[in-house]
């Protein structure tokens, strides 16, 4: 057991911590609303070679692993980076897996933005997390894993979480990556990487939401005392920080299990996603609440965290349905229909 990061991993974390602290400032985040996309930040991220971090060296990447991406995502989450993260990083690994060299190169270089459609419904029935800004999406089309090009007309769906989300009608297929069980298997692994990376985003978000709340509670005085001295303010923050530590450990463990192809990997990815989402929403809501009327004001940063905490989870899945998915992964499939016993 070793829960520490290596020196290289610490350096990766620090790199992205600095990048997002400097370049994803509250002003930049607000300027990127309502679309939720900051092209300059995207260019800066591309400039660090981030998209190639977990791509094998033979394919032009840095050959590191999923954990480095998790560290990147945590820092991006901490600063609410207005750029695609989870689906794009998972996509680049899919492109690498299938050695789709041209697209991979275009993606890593930032020439094209390649994202992932994580639903299993037909593409037109999905809301794509990065739909408004992506050039391509990888999608599961029945038994086939395909790459689709952005249609001529794509309309951003204005939304509470400032996600660049959109539907794609009549997207054209560009290439097929795989068919049959291989397609499904790779798609499932990619979706689990999205789960893990979204968990990491939410963990980062949660840590910072708590810090914003704690910073406010340390200095804001009411009735002659800093409000952080009242148990009704302080105790939920304590619960939130403990849960966020737990969510971070869970995310890291899910990452370790995925990297070491441990049998528990799919379960852990589901667990991390559910728990990190629940934790981030709780943390952001309580931090906002203790701001009183100020938390509600557009100019306070906590409302940015509050809105994204919900959006970053819900765009991927309903956590309640995820629980049933987790049950299948952890306990095996249902062997007998007992739904009738429910009523």
């Amino acid at each position: 057991m070793n829960l520490d990061l290596s020196a290289e991993q610490m350096a990766v974390r620090e790199l992205f911590a600095d990048l997002f602290a400097n370049e994803s400032t509250p002003e930049r985040i607000r300027a990127a609303e309502p679309l939720g996309y900051d092209p300059a930040l995207w260019a800066q991220l591309i400039g660090t070679g981030a998209l190639g971090i977990a791509v094998p060296e033979g394919l032009g990447g840095a050959g590191a692993g999923l954990l480095e991406l998790v560290l990147l995502a945590e820092e991006a989450g901490r600063r609410l980076a207005s750029i695609p993260i989870a689906e794009v990083l998972a996509s680049v690994r899919l492109l690498a897996e299938f050695e789709a060299r041209d697209l991979l190169e275009e993606s890593m270089s930032g020439a094209k933005l390649v994202s992932l459609a994580t639903g299993t419904a037909s593409l037109a029935d999905q809301i794509l997390a990065d739909g408004a800004v992506a050039d391509y999406v990888i999608a599961l089309d029945g038994e086939r894993l395909v790459v689709l090009a952005r249609p001529a007309v794509v309309r951003h769906l204005t939304n509470a979480g400032s996600l660049p989300m959109a539907r794609w009608h009549d997207a054209t297929e560009v290439t097929e990556l795989a068919v049959g069980s291989r397609a499904r298997q790779s798609f499932d692994v990619a979706c689990d990487e999205v789960r893990i990376l979204r968990s990491a985003l939410l963990v980062g978000l949660s840590f910072e939401a708590i810090e914003i709340g704690a910073a406010y509670a340390r200095v804001r005085r009411a009735f002659g005392l800093p409000i952080g001295g009242y148990q009704a303010v302080a105790h939920p923050l304590a619960d939130a920080i403990v849960a966020t530590d737990g969510a971070q450990l869970l995310t890291w463990k899910a990452c370790w299990a995925a990297a070491s192809r441990h049998a528990t990997a799919p379960s852990l990815a589901s667990m991390a996603f559910i728990f990190a989402g629940q934790t981030a929403c709780f943390a952001a809501q309580h931090s906002l609440h203790i701001h009183g009327g100020y938390g509600f004001m557009a100019e306070y940063d906590i409302q940015l965290y509050f809105r994204r905490s919900k959006a970053w989870q819900t765009i991927f899945a309903d956590p309640q349905l995820e629980l049933h998915g987790l049950a299948d992964r952890r306990f095996g499939p249902v062997l007998a229909d007992m739904a009738g016993d429910v009523s």
Binding site: I127, A160, F223, G293, T314
Partner: protein
Amino acid sequence: MDFAEPENWSAIRAEAEAFVAEHVTDDMIREELATGDGVSRPLLRALGQRGWIAATWPVAEGGAGLDGFEASIIAATIRLAGGPTIGQGTTMLPANAIRALASEPLKQRILPSVAAGETLICLGYTEPEGGSDVFACRTKAVADGDSWVINGQKMFTTFAHLADFCFLLTRTDPESHGPRGLTMFLVPMDTPGIERQAVRTMGYERTNIVFYKDVRVSDFYRVGDVNDGLRVMRVALEAEQNIAPASKTTQLFNTALAWAQTPDRSGRRMIDSPAVRERLARFAIDAEVAELLGHRVAFIEQIGGKPGPHAALFGPESYVAWAAAVIDMVGPAAMIAWSDDEAVSGGSFEYHFRSAVASTIYGGSSEVLRSLIAEQRLGLPRSRPRTTQA
């Protein structure tokens, strides 16, 4: 024991629905969503003509002689339709305090016009350093002949940019601290020296910071005695606490249920999904409890009792929890804003998600209410913070 809805409630609701059909237009709804002003002058005048602004006042005073719950049904019906109600609801808090405590000439100057829907009054209580502690008031009023000169700053003055008056809490005894030494004024908003700064909120609502610089107000506009602002505040705050909050939990529940029962293009109803059913069942319980606690407030008021802050805790707390949980259940489409054609249920879920969190803050935070309930109902020692000493 009878839980049937009283006939007068159904009757007034029917009247209010007819009124809404006539007066709350689509344009008005969209304008309200776009501006977040909480005010529509034409709607106010139409309400005034029906006596529905100051609905609980006698007809002779421009009201409609309704009881508190009938009045709240009118407001709830307008709100349900998407019409603005904040202007009217807020105006009535000081209006009731003025009616109880102001001088006769001031009453005659203000109240008929309020009842007619011609006069709007905003609230100037909270200050930047104050938060929930409204008595941490630093805005000063200094007597100068027959008038007062006011200097200070107030936060969260909703519709300050549209109001005719501000019900302004000031400190008139410079030596005083906390709840003593305060005086209340009704400040005409066109007085020189008043500056408004718009504040946008997460919940589509606009509010304002208002700066008062050497604002000169005639003593005529004083409400209550000098240094007796505490008493005036109490009357206005009490009116606020006892408003039976028509449950937004129920409003949101009804929207969510309608969503789940409406077949999608492929004929699928989400209500048939166990994961949706289970949550809606739990949601139905909370909505029912929120309603019942609200009804009890109405009933206790009707028999002349003091209902206490119960309904004000459960209703908003459950509303906040469900406004977030519904997004999980409905999915990302629930986050699409009303302004987008693809919004689900007219953007209601997005709207509630954005605005619900304010309901456990405005009008006394949930924490203050819990402490009050613990003290008043359970006899526990004070767990609220003490009012400022310094």
